[in-house]
């Protein structure tokens, strides 16, 4: 009967603080067939609905930064309370090669954690570069270490890892971590810089983009990436974040 329902109801198992404003919501059961980089739409009746990356599929987990009304409502949920999920949606990451460089900005660390787990389960090497404004903003660094990833942090104020942008950490990591593919999720300026870096360095890249999502299923057009951005990173015009993405693929010629 439940396949007749647009949404699946989940319950919060635990809600763990991950930094001063981000919580990891661990739900009561798995989401079938979810891949790292895919997302779900989370609905709170009478509140709203927004997209969130899948930070773990079994049990379904999301890392939510409380930055506005909807994310605050999610972070206020207590164990046992319900939320509604549709998905998994979109095109996720695809592990390529055996040495993986993951680059996260802000809650971009969330889908990368799921990806790192998958790579580690295959016995492959993972190095994670995390960027943030300061130490308080850093996300999931401990979680990555726990599953055997090398972690390099970069903060704008130098309060954790090296001072500067995450791109500096990437350059540094690559010196002794000859990655075959770079996987990135984070703010658009970071992705643009990394896309340029991959092109310059002939490194395969997978980038997870953000956009204003409405339908989430490739109909309404609201998540289209603008043409200048498409041109900058080599995407075809009219690229839809919810359906063609959120992950885009760059392969050096």
């Amino acid at each position: 009967m439940s396949d007749m329902q647009a949404y699946q109801r989940y319950f919060i198992s635990t809600s763990q603080p991950k930094n001063y404003r981000t919580r990891s919501l661990v739900l009561d059961r798995p989401l079938a067939e979810a891949q790292p980089g895919q997302f779900v739409m989370i609905w709170l009746p009478d509140v709203g609905e927004k997209p969130f990356s899948i930070a773990n599929a079994d049990p379904l987990t999301a890392a939510i930064a409380a930055v506005g009304p909807f994310s605050e409502a999610l972070c206020a949920l207590e164990p046992g309370q319900p939320l509604w999920v549709r998905g998994p949606l979109g095109q996720g990451f695809e592990l390529k090669g055996k040495k993986h460089l993951l680059v996260g900005g802000g809650y971009g660390a969330a889908p990368l954690y799921f990806l790192a787990k998958q790579a580690r389960a295959r016995g492959e090497e993972v190095c994670v570069c995390l960027g943030a404004r300061n130490q308080a903003e850093l996300l999931l660094a401990e979680d990555f270490r726990e599953i055997g990833c090398r972690v390099e942090a970069a903060t704008e104020d130098g309060s954790a890892g090296q001072r500067g942008l995450v791109l500096e950490a990437v350059r540094a990591a690559l010196v002794d971590f000859p990655a075959q593919t770079l996987y990135a999720c984070g703010p658009k300026p970071m992705l643009l810089a990394l896309a340029a870096f991959c092109k310059d360095n002939r490194l395969a890249g997978q980038f997870s983009w953000e956009a204003m999502m409405r339908c989430g299923i490739g109909l309404c057009g609201s998540c289209e990436i603008d043409e200048p951005t498409c041109d900058a990173v080599g995407l075809p015009h009219g690229w839809l974040t919810c359906k063609d993405g959120p992950v885009s693929f760059y392969q050096p010629a």
């Binding site: 647009a6 409405r214 339908c215």
Partner: protein, 311 residues
Amino acid sequence: MNKVSVDLTCELAGVRMHNPLVLASGVLGTSAALLERVGACGAGAVTSKSCGPEERAGHPNPIAVEWAGGVINAVGLTNPGLEAEIPTLIDARERLHAQGIPLIASIFAPTVEDFGRMAAGVSAAEPDLIEVNISCPNVGDEFGTPFSGSVESAAAVTRMVRAKTKLPIAIKLAPNVPNIARIALAAQEEGADAITAINTVPGMLIDPYAGRPVLSNKVGGVSGWSIKPIALRCVAEISRTVSIPVIGLGGVSNGLDAVEMIMAGATAVGVGSAVWQRGVDVFAVIAEEMYEFMAGEGYPDLASMRGIAIR
């Protein structure tokens, strides 16, 4: 059964198309880049998202979800308003014409007068056809009935639009009327060049665990494969009654569905929700499926199938 060579071209109100498949309004028609992309994916023509006089943000999320029978949506007519739409339409038309693909501009408005203003306004962008969406719920007469809900209001809008543009016009109708053919006939009598049918079927999904409607607007429009029998019936009734061509749509997901629309009397076939189901490439795929069917069954062209199910 001998394989025959198959001609999928068609002409609709003077507009020539390399195949009968039209991108439905509201699906991916929000930018020149997306319209161009759909054209490149094999559509015979594309329709822009319905535009009204003023910018509208639309409803808050959830605005569209899939369910077992297809999709239900209440986007809320998100659009940039007439002024911002014109350059987009010009841009889209130029890109599409470079591919040899016609552009249909969809308009809606809250009043009969505004429909006139919209028709005159988008005519400046010279689309190949103007589709007049009189079937969106939540705009219309004082009872919330859309203009397509009565012969009188449908006629009034058509008359006004006809007076304001020399471009060909298609009137888009809603299925939830007792006699859709009478409304189509009224539109024809007021000068419509084509009829588009059907818009979504008003519906509601309720999540029993939430005890709430799923869409923020509560009521929405059902689209996708489960509405096909409703659409076929509407297209058949209209085709039997009017002499102008019909763009038949509603639930067309594959080549057989498109063939059925033509057999019900449609000249062209709209495709909307199937883009969700089968991807943007669905246009080329459906065209290929139509080709296979027609070659296998010995139909040389669309005219040889058109309306055969209603004779």
